[in-house]
C-alpha cells in the first residue's frame, strides 16, 4: 500500500553532526520523507506526546532512535514508547554506533522493531538510509492509525 503523503520520521539523536548527516542523505535521496529531530530522549517523548513546543507536530510513522544519549537514553525512550498503548504501534528502528550483542539483545527485548548499526563510512550509510526509506515507504504496510494520524 503506497503512502499518499510524506513519510513522517522522527530522528532521536544527541549528536547534531549525526543528525545533519542523516538529513543530508535523506535530502540527496529525494524521497517522500519529512524528517523531525529530537535531541535526546526527553525531547523525543515531549514530541510524541505533543508537549510544548511540539503541539503542532504530526504523529511520526517511524522513529530512528539512537541508544546512548544524555538525560534519557534510547533504551528508556524505547521502554516508554512500548509501554504506551497509543505509541507502541509506531515502528522504532534503533540506529546506533554500538554493535554490542548486549545492546542488540536488550533493544529487541524492549520490542524494538529493527536494529541497525551505523556504518563507519558514508557510502554504506547512504545505503542504509536508502534501504530504510524504501522498506518503510514502499514495502512495509504501516498500521492504519499511523496512516490516519
Amino acid at each position: 500500500m503506497k503512502l499518499k503523503r510524506k513519510l513522517e520520521i522522527l530522528v532521536v539523536d544527541d549528536n547534531p553532526a549525526d543528525i545533519r548527516l542523516t538529513q543530508e542523505v535523506f535530502r540527496d535521496l529525494q524521497g517522500s520523507v519529512h524528517l523531525h529531530v529530537a535531541h535526546d530522549g526527553e525531547n523525543a517523548l515531549e514530541f510524541l506526546h505533543r508537549k510544548h513546543p511540539f503541539e503542532q507536530v504530526p504523529r511520526p510513522d517511524l522513529i530512528l532512535l539512537d541508544l546512548n544519549m544524555p538525560r534519557k537514553d534510547g533504551r528508556e525512550v524505547l521502554m516508554d514508547i512500548k509501554k504506551d498503548s497509543d505509541l507502541r504501534s509506531i515502528p522504532v528502528v534503533v540506529l546506533t554506533t554500538s554493535g554490542a550483542e548486549k545492546d542488540v539483545t536488550e533493544s529487541y527485548g524492549l520490542h524494538a522493531n529493527c536494529y541497525i548499526t551505523k556504518p563507519m563510512n558514508l557510502p554504506q550509510f547512504i545505503k542504509v538510509v536508502e534501504s530504510i526509506q524504501n522498506f518503510w515507504l514502499n514495502t512495509a504496510v504501516l498500521p492504519r492509525v499511523a496512516l490516519e494520524g
Partner: protein, 566 residues
C-alpha cells in the same frame, strides 16, 4: 562292720580325732591320754593310722604340710604332707631342731626367728607369719607358718608344738601383681596432666582426685574431699544448670556416662574450659559401686578453635570484600571496553563520513556547507582526542601502584588553582577555602580530583562562579565539600553523573567527555572514601567526598584565611 567303721571315721567327733587335727586349734592336749580308754587298742591304733594317712593326703593336696617340734628331745618331726609339698625324701632330710631355721630364707631368718622365740617364750599362744622355705628342688616357696603349743611342762614351758606350712606362693604373686598394678595406676594418676577422679556411686563424696585437679581448678583437693557436694559452685553460672542436670542424670543411671564440656570459674576469677567424663564402676553383680572418670583442661583447644573460627570469618569477609572490589573493578573495565570499542567510533565515524561528504559535494571548492562540514570534522577530531586522553587517564588509574604519602590538601588546592588559571580568569570565578588538612593519599590523584570538581563548577555556571572548598572531620573520616552557585543537578541524576560517559548536557551546551566525575569517583574510592552530590536545579551543587583519617592530624595553620582567586 566296714560300713560302720567308715561311717565312724568320717563322723568322728572332734575330740576323738588324732592329735594332728589340733592345727585348727579345736582339739585339746588331753587326747593322747584318752586313747588309753576304749575297747581294742589295736583296732583304735589302726583306725588312727588310717585317719592320719588320709589327713596327710588331704593336707598335701591343699598345698600344706604339717610338722611337730618336740622340745624335750630337740626334734623336728616332718609330716608326710610336708615332705610331699616341699619335695623332700624323709631319708635325705635331717630332724634337728635347727632344721626349720636352716630351711628358712636367709632374708626372713632374723624376723621369723624373733617371732618364733617370742612364741616359745610364751608371749603368744599362736604363731602366724609369712616366710620363704627352701624346697627340695632348691627354690623358695612362700608359706604361711602357723603353730601352737600343744603340751607344756608343769612350769608352763612348751614341750610340744604342732605346726603347719601352707604354700601361699601363688597368693603372694597375685598380691604383688595387684600391688604393682595399683601402684602403676596411682603413679600415672598422680603425674598426668589430666585429672582422675573417683566418687561414691551416688556422686556425693569424692574418694580420690589426682593432683592435676589443683592445677586446673585452682583449688585444693582437700577442700574437694571435705565439701564434695559443692563442686557445682565452681561451674560457670551459664553452664551450671546444664552440667548439674547431666550429673544427676548420670548418677541416677538415666544416662550411661557423663560427658560435658563447660567453663569453670577459678578462685582467682579466671575462666577455664574443661571436659569432664565419667563412667560407672560396676561389681560382679552389675551393681554400681563407684563413679570414676577423667577431667581435662581444654581451654587452649577451645581458644584455638575460636581463633580459627574468627580467622576463618575474617578471611571470608576479606574474600567477600575483595570479590566485591574485583566485581566493581571488572564492571568498570567492562564499561571501558564497551566505550573503547563503540563510543570511540562515533566521532571517528563523523570525521570519516563528513570528509567523504565534503569530497562528494564540494570537490575542491568550499562553500558555506563545506565550511560547516569542515568544522564538524575538526570538532569530531577534537572530541576524539579529548576522549582518548580522558580514557587514558581513567585506565592509567586502574593500573597505578603509587604509594600513599602525606598530602597537604591546602597545597594541592593551590596547584589546582594554578592549573585552572585560564578558566578562572575567563569566568571571573571566586574560589575560597577553609583550612584544609594533611591526609594520606596520592598527591597527583587528589589534585586531579579537586581540579575536576572545581573545573566542573566553573563549567556548569549560571553567573559569576563562587566556589568554596571546606573540610571537617566526623567518625574517623575527613568530609570535604566543593560548593558552587552553578546550574545545579536534578536529584534523579545524582547516581548516573558518576558513571563513565554520562553527560547531562547536550552537545554544544557545555564541552565535556563525561569522564571527569567517573575519574573523581574512582580516585575517592581508591583512597577508601565515598563521593556524592547534593543539589537542586538552579540552586548550585555541593560535591562531597570522604577520605579516611588514619592519623589524627589537625590543620596546623591557625590562619583560616580564605584563598581567593578572581
Amino acid at each position: 562292720m566296714d560300713k560302720h567303721r567308715s561311717s565312724h571315721e568320717t563322723c568322728a567327733p572332734p575330740e576323738e580325732r588324732p592329735d594332728l587335727s589340733d592345727v585348727d586349734g579345736a582339739a585339746r592336749s588331753t587326747t593322747i591320754a584318752r586313747e588309753k580308754d576304749g575297747g581294742s587298742l589295736r583296732a583304735r591304733l589302726e583306725e588312727s593310722r588310717t585317719s592320719i594317712a588320709n589327713l596327710e593326703a588331704s593336707l598335701s593336696a591343699a598345698g600344706a604340710g604339717d610338722w611337730q617340734w618336740n622340745l624335750e628331745s630337740n626334734q623336728l618331726v616332718l609330716g608326710d604332707s610336708w615332705l610331699s609339698v616341699f619335695g623332700y625324701l624323709r631319708e635325705a632330710i635331717g630332724s634337728g631342731i635347727d632344721l626349720l631355721n636352716e630351711l628358712t630364707h636367709p632374708e626372713d631368718r632374723s624376723r621369723v626367728g624373733a617371732l618364733r622365740t617370742q612364741f616359745l617364750d610364751g608371749a603368744n599362744d599362736l604363731l602366724a607369719c609369712e616366710l620363704r622355705i627352701r624346697s627340695g628342688a632348691g627354690h623358695y616357696l612362700w608359706v604361711l607358718e602357723s603353730a601352737r603349743v600343744v603340751e607344756r611342762s608343769e612350769q608352763g614351758r612348751p614341750l610340744r608344738v604342732v605346726g603347719l606350712h601352707q604354700d601361699i606362693t601363688r597368693r603372694r604373686e597375685t598380691e604383688k601383681s595387684l600391688r604393682d598394678t595399683g601402684s602403676t595406676f596411682r603413679q600415672l594418676a598422680d603425674r598426668v596432666r589430666e585429672v582422675f577422679w573417683i566418687c561414691t556411686a551416688d556422686g556425693k563424696r569424692t574418694l580420690y582426685v589426682s593432683p592435676a585437679y589443683e592445677e586446673i581448678w585452682g583449688g585444693s583437693r582437700q577442700s574437694l574431699y571435705e565439701n564434695s557436694e559443692d563442686w557445682p559452685l565452681m561451674v560457670h553460672p551459664e553452664d551450671r544448670d546444664r552440667v548439674v542436670e547431666a550429673a544427676k542424670s548420670f548418677v541416677h543411671g538415666a544416662s550411661p556416662s557423663f560427658h560435658e564440656e563447660y567453663r569453670i570459674v577459678r578462685p582467682d576469677g579466671t575462666i577455664r574450659w574443661v571436659r569432664v567424663r565419667g563412667f560407672p564402676v560396676i561389681d560382679e553383680l552389675g551393681k554400681t559401686v563407684r563413679t570414676a572418670g577423667i577431667a581435662e583442661d581444654i581451654t587452649e583447644a577451645r581458644t584455638q578453635a575460636q581463633n580459627l573460627c574468627r580467622l576463618n570469618d575474617e578471611l571470608e569477609t576479606r574474600v567477600r570484600e575483595r570479590t566485591t572490589e574485583l566485581e566493581r573493578s571488572n564492571k568498570a573495565l567492562e564499561e571501558f571496553a564497551y566505550i573503547a570499542s563503540h563510543d570511540l567510533q562515533e566521532p571517528l565515524r563523523m570525521v570519516t563520513s563528513y570528509v567523504q561528504l565534503l569530497e562528494q559535494r564540494c570537490g575542491t571548492r568550499l562553500d558555506q556547507d563545506g565550511l560547516d562540514f569542515m568544522r564538524f570534522i575538526v570538532d569530531g577530531a577534537q572530541r576524539m582526542k579529548a576522549l582518548i586522553n580522558d580514557l587514558l587517564a581513567y585506565s592509567r588509574m586502574e593500573i597505578s601502584v603509587d604509594q600513599f604519602e602525606e598530602v597537604d590538601v591546602q597545597a594541592a588546592l593551590k596547584r589546582v588553582l594554578g592549573n585552572l588559571s585560564v578558566a578562572i580568569e575567563e569566568s571571573n570565578a571566586e574560589i575560597t577555602s577553609d583550612p584544609l588538612p594533611v591526609v594520606s593519599g596520592i598527591e597527583l590523584e587528589l589534585i586531579q580530583l579537586l581540579q575536576n570538581l572545581i573545573g566542573n563548577a566553573i563549567k556548569y555556571r549560571r553567573e559569576k562562579p563562587r566556589i568554596h572548598v571546606s573540610a571537617t572531620h566526623a567518625g574517623g573520616e575527613w568530609w570535604f565539600s566543593v560548593k558552587d552557585n552553578g546550574i545545579g543537578i536534578d536529584p534523579q541524576h545524582f547516581d548516573r553523573i558518576f558513571r563513565i560517559f554520562q553527560r547531562l548536557r547536550k552537545h554544544g551546551e557545555v564541552s565535556g567527555t563525561g569522564i571527569g566525575l567517573a575519574i573523581c569517583k574512582k580516585i575517592v574510592e581508591r583512597h577508601g572514601g565515598r563521593i556524592w552530590v547534593d543539589s537542586k536545579p538552579d540552586d548550585g551543587s555541593v560535591f562531597l567526598f570522604t577520605l579516611p583519617r588514619d592519623e589524627i592530624r589537625e590543620p596546623s595553620r591557625a590562619t583560616a584565611a580564605a584563598e581567593g582567586v578572581s
